[in-house]
Amino acid sequence: MKSVIVALFCFLVNATIVLSQVAVISHKSVPEDSMTKSVLLDLYTGDIQSWSNGEPVIVIDLKPRGDVKTAFYDFIGKKSSRIKSIWLKKKLSGEWDTPESLETEDDVVKKVASTAGAIGFVSQSSVTTDVKVLLLIQQGKN
């Protein structure tokens, strides 16, 4: 009986993780309403630096490593360390400024909501009505 309860508990925890989603959010001024994986990658590697209306893209990163950050970078197909190396290369070539990394998801939401052209990622539960959701990523899938 005890093992059945443990197994059920594990299943529920696992199901919760699988069902939780990462939201790619942007400032409401951003003209795009949706986002593809390849465009998201180009935005986070600095290959694309402006939105379709010419407004500069301000990329916001989440500092602490965790499920949300892992799911996001797994989705775009780059390890966090590889992304940082790309950022450093662009910074040292004068091509792009390294994105700001914030400590908490709430900070990311507030920063994106208050910065024109900003884009970030947080867990779906942290999203507020102050930002626009461009894409939902299901954790564990890419």
């Binding site: 390849s38 180009d42 630096q49 010419g54 360390s81 450093l88 004068g94």
Partner: protein
Amino acid sequence: MTRLNTVMSLSLIFILTSASLTQSGDSPIGIFGYFQNSFQHWTTFEDRKEQNSFSVQQLNLFFQKDLSRDWTAFINFEFLNSFSSIRQWGAANLEEAWVKYRANEKFNLKLGLQIPIFNNLNEIKNRTPLLPYIVRPLVYETSFSEFIIIEEFVPDRAFLQVYGFLPKGETKCDYAFYLGNSSNMNDNREKGQTGIDTTTTFLAGGRLGFRYRELKLGLSATHEKKNGIRTLDFISLADSLGREPSELMGLPKTRLGVDMSYKFTNFIFESEFVTVNIDEGIPELELDLDFYYATLGYHLTEQLFAYGSYWVVDVHSALLATGDEKVEDEAIQTLNIGASYDLNDRIRFKGQFARVKADEELHLLSHDDVIKEEDKFSVYAVAVSVFF
């Protein structure tokens, strides 16, 4: 007079006020840079004794300012080999001073002194925090420029460049085209370094590339006219050939480069080939340079990276003037193993072992004599690279 002074004073106040108002509304100047301190142990080679040396291998200081949404200014000062003007050590260079206009990812225009895009490494050859090497693939090793004439192999400077990429899904086609001076500025170091370029010819070059996910391929080329051949004694060369020095002016020189890099899971493979041909149009003279490198690396963890790398530099020259025919071939092969460890985003520790084999063969055709020299030595190096 008083009126003139008043007008001048008011004008000065107006100019200063305008300048300060502009400054206050501007984006701040970004100041950042990096340095690499190393310790290198060289075993004996030729007539040199064993060497043990600490040095500030390189320090670069950048100033960057966004002038407007589309325009950015960038300056790069470089100090090499523990630069000290008092001790007359090392070198200090103004490496870059450019302004860039970015329309979008498809079109960028860079005006001013810059390092042009050529193959994979040229543009970032002096960005030590990006590279796992301490001693870089030889034609990119700026701190060895006293021994290897880097600008003969890869273009050192350009002054105008357009570049960008054309995206199609996950595929990107890169392009870059540039113009600069031919690489013969201040060739004769003994005659002073005035900084005035007397070059009358241009360097023109570019790269076409293809990217798909982690695969990157490129084809680079440059063309220029040289006013001399720095690898050979110019005057005695003309004398040996029985020609006027002016006949060796404006020799067309072409560089061709191929680069490839691929990242697969934790593996990284990078490779480049450069061939340089000086089409002297003089049958009695041949001069060709080749360079190849390949690196296979593996990320043991996200912070720890290990690699093996192989480099070859080949220099072939032939002087086929009557009575003084000689063919000279020089090959430097270097086998490297190394590792780097990222302590954090700003500090990277490095270790490298290089085994260098230098072969030289001089074939004196007129005497039917071959002189061979072979030398081997090793370099053990550790370094810390810091981005600030």
